[in-house]
């Protein structure tokens, strides 16, 4: 009896499969990200952007492959535990074993840097997002691109411009020893010197720093006009807590990565007002594409996007989608399409020169009354820069 029921079920299934319309396989898109470990607080911003994109593309009927057909997207995600070495193994596996059709980028410069060689070896093009590196740019790889305008040398020039416009004549520089912070500092120091801005305190600290009081007491005693914290999310949180306690009164206070993440402003409420951070996007302008992205993100995740990381991740998939629509899934054609095309994104037109975004100017955001505004460059401002007044 059992056998009979089994056979019946099997034939019913076969019949159902027969009857269903033939559906093309999904486009498999893989990536790894820091779901756990040191960088984990930053990763959801990027994961959310990827998921939102996949959902929207599938709702539109799928990814347009060179204008010939549309296929739905399947995202394949692994946790690299914040370890760049793991990312290398995972991307190798994605390409050789999972045989994915396309790749999305992991979180952060160390991971992009680590997997660049895997991409080169397999000639597999991938658009980067939350990363930039002058060192990697100088190696002229051919299969990775950076959407961000925040490359350390351009960033140094823009920072000096911003400091001068704010009348800052002296600064303290606090640097996390991770590569992005270090590279920023490398270009910032000579730029400050050339502009005649004095560096009163120059302190490096390890990524897992627990107490900044000793450093900030020095900063307070030196009374600089500005504090430049080349920080990551964890130490950005630490900075706000301790700077508020110690009473750092500088009128310009900058934290490299962290304040653009949604939870940051909620966590500190008024205390974070006046903090400047890296970013060149804000929904407060009148760009329709940006507004649509902002509204969809907020609706789906019940929180604001990260103005830096969600945006970079979104721009990377916007570019990927447009390049695939032109070139299909063939790696050589795709590489060609990405390197030579001009793309419409929420940060405006983007075109690559080598690995680097050749169009978008480097910008800065400032938290004002709990909202993030573009304060630099001036022609993209959604609000003018305001001095930081106390910690509330």
């Amino acid at each position: 009896m059992k056998k009979f029921v089994g056979a019946l079920a099997a034939s019913a299934l076969a019949a159902a499969a027969w009857a269903a319309p033939v559906q093309a396989a999904e486009v498999r898109i893989g990536y790894s990200i820091a779901k756990t470990g040191l960088f984990a607080p930053a990763a959801p911003s990027q994961i959310n952007a990827y998921n939102l994109w996949a959902e929207q593309v599938n709702a539109r009927g799928g990814l347009d492959l060179g204008g010939k057909e549309k296929r739905k997207i399947e995202l394949i995600q692994y946790d690299d535990q914040s370890n760049p070495g793991n990312a290398v193994k995972i991307y190798e596996k994605l390409i050789t074993q999972d045989k994915v059709d396309l790749l999305l980028s992991p979180w952060g410069t160390p991971h992009h840097f680590a997997i660049a060689s895997v991409l080169e070896r397999h000639k597999f093009p991938m658009i980067g997002s939350t990363a930039s590196s002058v060192q990697l740019r100088n190696m002229k790889p051919g299969n990775i691109w950076f959407t961000t305008a925040a490359v350390a040398d351009k960033l140094a020039t823009a920072m000096v411009g911003l400091l001068q416009s704010a009348g800052v004549k002296s600064v303290a520089i606090l640097t996390n020893q991770l590569p992005f912070g270090q590279e920023n500092k490398k270009f910032l120091m000579p730029a400050l010197k050339a502009a005649g801005i004095e560096v009163l305190v120059d302190a490096d600290y390890p990524p897992n720093i627990k107490d900044m009081t000793a450093i900030l007491v020095k900063v307070k005693a030196a009374k600089p006009d500005g504090v430049i914290g080349l920080a990551y999310p964890g130490d950005s949180i630490l900075y706000i807590n301790k700077a508020r306690e110690v009473g750092i009164a500088a009128k310009f206070q900058y934290l490299l990565v962290g304040p653009a993440i949604g939870f940051f402003r909620g966590m500190f409420k008024g205390a974070a007002d006046g903090i400047v951070t890296l970013g060149h996007w804000s929904p407060h302008g009148d760009d329709a594409r940006s507004k649509a992205f902002y509204a969809a993100y907020k609706k789906k995740f019940k929180q604001e996007p990260d103005y830096l990381d969600s945006v970079e991740a979104w721009v990377s998939v916007e570019i990927l989608e447009q390049a695939v629509a032109k070139a299909g899934l063939d790696k050589d054609k795709l590489r060609q399409a990405i390197s030579t095309g001009t793309f419409d994104t929420i940060i405006g037109k983007v075109r690559f020169d080598g690995v680097q975004n050749a169009v978008t100017p480097t910008g800065f955001l400032q938290i004002q009354k709990g909202e993030l505004h573009v304060v630099w460059p001036k022609d993209r401002q959604t609000a003018p820069l305001a001095p930081k007044t106390g910690w509330k």
């Binding site: 470990g37 107490d211 005693a221 807590n241 508020r244």
Partner: protein, 295 residues
């Protein structure tokens, strides 16, 4: 260099020092009475930190109350381990050196199990929360409420325990056990009861300190090990089994760390702590604050 005179720096050093003192006190109690080397001590700190985090995030319970719950939870863990594992080890007739060596291995295993179970349950991602973050001004120094509470609780509890050991009958039996296990059994001390109490107390102190630490630091399953190391450095500085000396040594280490970092670089924090550890082990292995014993 005048920043070295800042009251802010001194208060930071005292806070770190008092936390180190309290964390080390629990370790020292257990080592002193039973010669058990609790490598998992820092993981109790971590459990305390998570208790504070979840009670605040899910039920908006203040860390001041949560630290009691954390102490109770860690104490219960201690009771389970004592009656489940260590009581039999200690009751046997094995020499004390054997117990010491075994305990190191057992606690090492326990530490790994606790860390990984926590990582499985809550993921390895670091967490933070903002509680008791009103600023309090004392003269020119301003300090977050959470850190002021940590300072007061750590100093208060450490002092209370030292007094308890000096003046209560149970406290005196603990000290007797620290001085001489066999002799204390001969004079009629209920060694098993005293050991169980000390074990639970040592664990509870670590859990309680953990809640206070978790308010100001990032919480993760692997945050405990540095505290184990620091606690060992502190009790080596103060002298193994010397409880008051340990509290003073905690303060000394807090001062060395804070002023050392201020004078050199935050990158050298670990070098400072391990440097002091090695120096003391080489030059005064019986501890800075311990009288030399004639044995």
């Amino acid at each position: 260099m005048e920043f070295l005179l800042s009251g802010q720096l001194l208060v930071a050093a005292l806070i770190i020092g008092s936390i180190y003192g309290l964390v080390a006190l629990g370790l020292n109690l257990i080592y002193g009475t039973m010669r058990l080397l609790n490598i998992a001590h820092g993981d109790l700190v971590m459990i305390g930190a998570y208790t504070g985090y979840w009670l605040f995030t899910l039920a908006a319970i203040s860390p001041v109350l949560a630290m009691l719950a954390a102490g109770a939870l860690a104490g219960l863990t201690g009771a389970a381990l004592y009656f489940g594992l260590f009581r039999r080890q200690l009751a046997g007739s094995q020499p004390i050196e054997r117990i010491e060596a075994n305990s190191l291995l057992i606690f090492f295993g326990i530490s790994i199990v606790i860390q990984n179970l926590t990582a499985l349950a809550f993921t390895a991602s670091p967490r933070t929360y903002q509680a008791l973050d009103t600023l309090v001004r004392i003269g020119e120094v301003s300090i977050a409420q959470s850190r002021l509470v940590a300072l007061a609780v750590c100093l208060g509890l450490s002092a209370a325990i030292v007094l308890f050991l000096r003046f209560s009958a149970l406290g005196l039996s603990i000290r007797a056990l620290i001085q001489h296990r066999t002799a204390s059994r001969i004079v009629g001390i209920d060694v098993d009861r005293v050991q169980a109490f000390t074990f639970v107390l040592g664990f509870a102190l670590a859990g309680l300190a953990g809640t206070l630490i978790g308010v100001t630091e990032q919480i993760s399953p692997f945050m405990g090990f540095p505290f184990t190391i620091v606690a060992f450095v502190v009790i080596v500085l103060g002298g193994l089994g010397n409880l008051a000396g340990g509290i003073a040594a905690g303060m000394v280490l807090g001062l060395i760390e804070t002023y050392g970092v201020a004078l050199t670089s935050a990158n050298l924090r670990s070098v400072l702590i391990y440097g002091v550890f090695i120096l003391v082990l080489v030059l005064r292995p019986e501890g800075l604050l311990q009288k030399r014993r004639l044995t």
